[in-house]
Amino acid sequence: MIINRNWLEKYIDIPFSDTDLEEHLTYLGLETVMLKNPVAGLDKLIVGEIKQVEKHPEADKLTICQVFDGTEIKQIICGADNVAVGQKVPVALPGCELPGGFKIKRSKIRGVESLGMICAEDEIGLSDNHEGIMVLQENTQPGITMENYINSTIGASFEVDLTPNRPDCNSHIGIARDVSALTDGELRIPEILLKESEERTEDHISVDILDEIGCPRYAARLVKGVKVGPSPKWLADTISSVGLRPINNIVDLSNFVLMETGQPLHTFDYNKVAGKKIIVRKAKANEKVTTLDSEVRTLTEDILLICDAEKPVAIAGIMGLENSEISKETSDVLIEGAYFDPATIRKGSKTLALQTDASYRFERGADPVNVLFAIDRIASLIQQVAGGIICKNRIDRYVREIEFPEVTVRFKRINKIIGYDFDKKWVVNKFQRLGCEILEKTDEEVTVKTPSWRPDLEREIDYIEEVVRIFGMEKIPEPKSLSIILNDEPNKKHMFIEKMRTDLCGFGLNENYNNTLVSQDMAKFELYDRPAIELANPLSRELAFLRTSLIPGLLNTAKLNFNRGNFDLKLFEIGNIQVREEKSQTKARETMNFAVLMTGNTEIINWSYRQREANLYYLKGLLEQIAEDYRIGELSFEKIENEIFSKLVRVTAKGQDLCLLGELHPLYLNKKQGIDKNIWILEGNVDLLFELFDPEIRYNSLPKYPATQRDVSIVVDRSLQIGDIEKVIREKAGKNLADFIFYDEYKGENIEKSKRSLTFNLVFQNNERTLLDSEIDKVMIKIHTALHKELNAELR
């Protein structure tokens, strides 16, 4: 909401500068930013006084003016017909550039010299008004800039960003009341001078409320014989100062009262209201109306309508209809002041996707009591500005009374929550300044009645907030020490996840975050084909499902990087995946996963050694290292088939599926992803890894006796797996085999095509004695024999 300082000062003295006001309001919880003067370049224009006016000898419509600019008299030709001696006017002197980009020059107009230009409001960007030159206030000093003039006459404006709990501050009086609580200044509520005629309102209109939930109160007044026309200058200037465009005196006044009191009012052309009757009812399904903005709107049964005897005339609390709009011909104005149910208006506004100044206030909770003040205020102002007579009495149908709580606030409790000793008198005084009625006061506590404009003050704690808000949170002293809760077991899962992150970085991987929200295609990732969770209200089809795997996200990141020429990637992500599970309370089974993607070279390019392309064994090695470091025990690897993978391995630990790793099938990458690179992927379950993780490091004493190493070199069928060979060797080597290292594979020259040559290094060691060469020799013979017999291996 925009407020204006001069307007605010009608209700409260402001002993602050503009910037201090901005800060004080912010510290009151009304986040305020001072608005820049909306018109740039006003500092280039000056105020001039017209000293003399004479007809231009060569042109009927032009006048030659002698204008005093504060230092000297300048001759300026003017084309407006409202120009007159003694006026103070905005003057653009030669060299000045107007907001539209028009540059003022010394010139001759039909042979007469002109040293500048006297401006209309539109020419300097203040409004669209081009009805003659702009005439400034009489007491203005010639020579000051227009910026100074605007600031001193209109005052600084501020944008206040209100939290939804403070509907009362959607008005100048509301904000003035908060300022008065801060400064202890007196709040000045305008007095209403109402001259009612003998004609009775109730003879002209009756109100029937069919929906008491939606409309607890409906009040009305009738002003007859008004003259609709442009607003007087004070009114137009005032509403312009808060960013509203003047329309006509009646509409402008209802905006004025809205911004003054926060109470949305509606004005009808009484003669267009059929049957002297107002009926408040819910709309029928598919009922069609045309609102003031000329839109045809289809209604639902949620929407509350104001109707006359025949037809709807307004959507309650949201917007009026064209059929009863105030126009130049209107002579009798029916004023509506109502309190509509916040939930009803909110629902209607949402259904129609239509938010207005009125709906914004009603849905946050308007003031059900001051409805009467507001309609009296506007009636008196209409009479003052547009003439007419005010009919006697208000119609006031208050069918469902809104209660305001009585709240007891314990002084000790305030101190306990805030941690500061407040002065009791100070507290009570501030409650009064906020408009609370003090019902009872003792040394221990005070009981107050919540004012009708503060729906947010229901409980003791709400009043405690008022205390600290008015006192200033800034002024609450901060203790120098805090108590500590000792925690004997920190969250181990968190520690584990952070450890994993660190370790994966240590392996040279870059952490990457991908969106949880994915397309249906990504959610139905073919590796698992898990049931995915779909959003009821997604942003787009691309973001309509929850991810069931981290892999599609990593593939997207790979694609993005390929497009930018980054071909060597080692990425990881740790994050949650969600799979649909009907029996879960949230229909979701959520697990934390980790995934790694590798593609391109594993090393940065350098001059010393050749780069190596990533492959399946890098991922396997990474996993083996994790298994060893985290002491999760033996892993077992099993080849499995999947159509989108050319190679795929399932890894289990203690009989549980820990992860999958493999190489994506080039056809899948090519056809489905448009990728022509090789990609290796690993994905596993962090929750399970955490369960298997053994945080205890166990120390093994160092061997006392030397180890002996032997190599085994064999040529075997290519189809024979290393795992099978290892099994035979381990079995025959017995318990003295301390390490088994496969370190060379050779295929090619000198070896049959169907075979490969393999070399293993065996390390023998015993913890109690030095092993004899002879006994190792014997073992080696056993190994050789077994390899030959069982695996048809040929020794080299």
């Binding site: 600290v468 609450i476 805090l482 925690n487 870059n510 969106n515 959520e590 001059w607």
Partner: protein, 339 residues
């Protein structure tokens, strides 16, 4: 020629061999093997000791020992000169780039969360996690959001179906914790959250939060101020000041927003702080009694504070990142910078 004679001749030969030697690793090694090897001359001379005439034995022995020392000394000398020659001869180019170890990187938001979490851990907060798919109860109802309250406008929410949604903040973790543990409790809740907002440079439909909660007897707003102030100083720098402005969140009362002096301009006013000198970094307040009671905590006996901040925004401010989308569509060149 008797052995002694032979030995004398060997010594002369050795000298001339040394004189004629072309210094290479091979020639020195050959020389060493010839004289000091298992089957070398020195060993041969010692083995023949018994065949030497008795009256010459002493002299012979001394002679061979001297000869052996001489050979050993000379060969060592030759070996040293070889090494020297080699190191001098070795050409190296100190301007060639080094071969670097490879290290990965944490995501910048992980980095920020880790730093923030650490500060609170040191102040005795523990970590608590919760699910990303939540129920309306934990996300709204238990947090004092009345049905149809405009605050729900502030949190445009993704729904799976009625009453099941993607959490819009990590506060549901606090509710779960309050229902699980007895006070006193002191915890922080890092996690990913979701809002139904169009993706742009300034906002994303996914982002992260760290919220904190402390419940005990006699927890005050003043304690909250101290805690946040210490956090801000430790995270943003000890010269940073904090300010508290009243604000509104349904689950706290009183509620506040916290600004810190802009750490870019030091409070002078710059583009980042929009000339205000302040940066908004978190919301906080005293836990609303309704929230405590809903979770079975006696709000007369206990009080508590809660706070929440967005590591994404803090990361952007800290590193001057101007587009939030970089966090989720990551160029490897972006990721590698955060080490």
């Amino acid at each position: 020629m008797d052995l002694y004679q032979e030995a004398k001749q060997n010594r002369i030969d050795f000298q001339s061999e040394i004189d004629a030697l072309e210094l290479t690793e091979q020639s020195v090694e050959n020389l060493r093997i010839k004289y000091l090897g298992k089957k070398g001359i020195i060993r041969y001379l010692f083995q023949g000791f018994s065949s030497v005439k008795p009256e010459e034995k002493k002299e012979y022995g001394q002679f061979v020992n001297v000869f052996k020392n001489e050979v050993e000394g000379k060969i060592e000398e030759l070996q040293e000169s070889l090494i020297k020659q080699k190191t001098v001869a070795e050409v190296f180019d100190h301007t060639m780039p080094g071969i670097r170890p490879q290290r990965g990187s944490l995501h910048p938001i992980s980095l920020t969360m880790r730093e923030i979490v650490k500060i609170f851990q040191e102040m005795g907060f523990d970590i608590e996690f919760g699910p990303e798919v939540e129920t309306d109860y934990y996300n709204f109802a238990a947090l004092n959001f009345p049905d149809n309250h405009p605050a729900r406008d502030m949190q445009d929410t993704f729904f799976v179906e009625k009453d099941i949604l993607l959490r819009t903040h990590t506060s549901p973790i606090q509710v779960r914790a309050m229902q699980k543990y007895q006070p006193p409790m002191r915890l922080i809740t890092p996690g990913r959250v979701f809002r139904n907002e169009a993706v742009s440079a300034r906002s994303h439909c996914i982002f992260h939060q760290i919220e904190g909660l402390y419940i005990d007897e006699n927890v005050t707003f003043a304690d909250l101020k101290t805690t946040i102030d210490i956090f801000a100083k430790r995270y943003f720098g000890k010269n940073v000041k904090t300010r508290f402005r009243p604000s509104f969140f349904p689950f706290v009362e009183p509620g506040a927003e916290v600004d810190v002096t802009c750490f870019i301009c030091g409070g002078e006013g710059c583009r980042v702080c929009k000339k205000t000198g302040w940066l908004e970094i978190m919301g906080c307040g005293m836990v609303d009694p309704n929230v405590l009671e809903e979770s079975g905590i006696d709000s007369e006996k206990y009080s508590g504070y809660a706070f929440g901040m967005g590591p994404d925004r803090i990361t952007m401010l800290k590193y001057g990142i101007d587009d939030i989308r970089l966090f989720f569509d990551s160029d490897i060149k972006f990721l590698k910078q955060f080490k």
